[in-house]
Symmetry: C2
Subunit: 416 residues, 2 copies
């Protein structure tokens, strides 16, 4: 079973966007035990796309085409594949109803080319698009399987997980059970994590260990192959135990679709605790990440963005003389901000962020110098200093995420 992924889009060829959908699909296929032998990118050009499909046909069993399902003239993947397969394009009624409902609801005019998004080659199995307009398709020829997936990562990922993956899992059913477990880590880099697990990774055959560096975190996926589920689970438990002994201090949760903020908001809700924040350099990012989590209102009512010294004094009722004496980028200020936010919002936890996002220095401190303050229940409030690096926005993102990390560790310590 050889799979091949063809990403279609001139904007990828020109390097205007980074192709993140191919790695996603490749990763998912690997997880299903399907080998990807080739990946390629072609522009929005019917002739070259046809040549790419023909080449794929000559060497691969499963051919996945991503992108070019949209409504514009550039989008010709579906039409090109249909022509190649000698199938007409037909309307998928549920997809058409979905598009019509969208335009009705949003009171925007629907154009003729929007209808194209609901069409697919005849004799295909439609793949539902839960977050966008363009329907996907699975087409089974005699010896080859073709799949059409949309280009935008959010659409492709949702469609793949909801519809495509179950179909492929069923189709390429393995004699053995493949079971995976994803462990998530924050506060350790990929190379440091890999170094600590080097001998385990070297010895890996079954289960396997695959580390992945993500934005500001690292995940590892353990995959066991066994005759049946119970045995695979035991193998994973055994390996995870070895992993946790070495890097458990950085572990925060399980699952491919998880995040540190989700874990923290979940823990807070479970324990009936509430949280607020006072944010300077992060300017609302930490609170916005709380708001990302569905059900956040159980633990979060509101908080403060205090970008200037004056607003740290005004909104948080801190003596401006105190702020001037210690400096806004200081341990004392971070502690005072966290304490006052907690007190004024009457929450169990207050988190504060103050520091230098850059590019310029502030109070003589370099960009990346950040203090995060934590006021946790009736414990003594504290602040920790960090020296983050890279761009302004990455410094702010690392700050916000580290805020969740500190809260997570407080919650863990409190449990013990």
């Amino acid at each position: 079973m050889r799979a091949e992924i063809i990403a279609v889009g001139t904007e990828i060829l020109l390097g205007e966007i980074t192709n993140t959908t191919t790695p996603f699909v490749a990763h998912e296929l690997a997880d299903l035990g399907i080998d990807v032998y080739y990946q390629s990118v072609v522009g929005d050009n019917a002739k070259r796309l046809t040549a790419a499909i023909k080449l794929a046909d000559s060497r691969s069993d499963l051919i996945i085409l991503t992108g070019g399902l949209g409504p514009t003239k550039d989008d010709l993947t579906k039409q090109t594949l249909a022509a190649y397969l000698k199938e007409p394009l037909v309307v998928d009624q549920p997809a058409m109803a979905h598009i019509e409902a969208y335009y009705k609801r949003t009171q925007r005019p629907m154009t003729q080319n929007n209808r194209l998004q609901a069409m697919l080659p005849a004799n295909s199995t439609p793949l539902n698009n839960p977050v966008g307009m363009a329907v996907g398709a699975l087409y089974q020829a005699d010896t080859r399987t073709y799949m059409l997936l949309p280009g935008p990562p959010s659409e492709l990922e949702a469609m793949f997980i909801d519809s495509a993956r179950p179909l492929l899992a069923k189709k390429y059913h393995q004699a053995n059970v493949l079971t995976s477990r994803v462990l998530r880590f924050h506060g350790i880099g990929e190379s440091a994590l890999v170094t600590k697990l080097a001998d385990l990774i070297d010895q890996q055959t079954n289960p396997t260990i695959a580390p992945y560096a993500k934005a500001n975190e690292v995940t590892i996926r353990l995959t066991a192959e066994a005759n049946e589920q119970t045995q695979a689970k035991q193998m994973l438990d055994h390996l995870e135990n070895q992993v946790q002994q070495r890097v458990g201090a950085y572990f925060y949760g399980y699952g491919e679709h998880n995040s540190l903020e989700k874990v923290v908001v979940g823990l807070l809700a479970k324990r009936g605790l509430t949280i607020t924040a006072a944010e300077s350099l992060t300017a609302g990012m930490f609170q916005s990440m709380i708001g990302n989590v569905s059900g956040a209102s159980a633990v979060f009512s509101g908080g403060y963005v205090t970008y200037s010294l004056a607003e740290k004094a005004h909104l948080l009722e801190i003596d401006p003389a105190y702020l001037q004496q210690h400096g806004v980028v200081s341990e004392a200020t971070a502690i005072a901000m966290a304490q006052q936010a907690k007190k004024l919002q009457k929450t169990d936890i207050g988190v504060a962020f103050t520091g230098v996002a850059g590019p310029d220095t502030l109070e003589g401190q370099p960009a990346g110098t950040v203090y995060i303050g934590i006021a946790y229940r009736d414990q003594k409030p504290f602040a920790r200093q960090f020296n983050f690096s890279r761009s302004r926005n990455l410094i702010r993102q690392q700050s916000a995420l580290t805020g969740f990390d500190l809260v997570y560790h407080q919650l863990q310590a409190d449990q013990k």
Copy 2:
């Protein structure tokens, strides 16, 4: 002149790492006026790599191979290309000296396969690696040019900019000047924009028009080819004029690396105006986006995250009875929030967000129902209702971005 990029690495095929070097090279080549027609990925397998080189040979003039120059058993790009070209591998003395010095300096033992990193196909021009060990190479055959670049992004980028780019610029010196201009639009979808520009796009030859859908916005790139800069600029001016006549209402700025928040913060700073916000469903995202912009402190001191009804009343000093009477998801509440935020923060502009992020309904209103309130200087405050769609987080992102859009249009109207 057709270029093709082949990335070598099983870890890319398996989706374990995202291929960021191909987009980098593609973007650089586009900038040099060199057209990339194909991109592909092959694993660390000599047979399949040879087939990929052979295929590239049949259709491309410039063939760039990235990755697989390292010291491990997996790394076979250089050996495979050399065998294909029927050239022996020879030592590049400066690269070897560099490697030997590194191992001497770090007092680490140097292995035989480290020496391999200093070798390249005979008759190549070596490309210096300023940040790593592996030397790159440019090989000129009769009608084809081959380039070997390292896989790690930091090494590839440094080598490309220092050595490869100057060589290519010299080699493929264009007689004509290629000049691009990127226009950015918010509040119109890609398909609607393309419909309005359909005839211009159809007629496109020189200059060309290329639309791209980005997250919550659309850009179009106009590219003119001319004998010299002034003429190209005139061609772009003429075409942009036609574009602006049709979709100028959605235009907000120029440039590949720009954003609506950057334009708005820039305009505010220029006019000496200040801004604040009260955020419910966006929970700080709008303010965090202000904080993304370097120099935001000139226009922004702080603001409010009021997630619950109680905090809308408490922090913004709004009568809770008023909020209960109108509902938190209402025009009246959005206006009151904007007004009070502006008043309490003594700013020129107050922006408020209240609505249903979902997935559940709120006050009987469906997810995506959002009111954005604007209190602008001494004008009558107002709120607009929106019905956004898709996931919780996309609804929140669209809300925050639309806040900037409303402020942008206020600023534009105020100027006139």
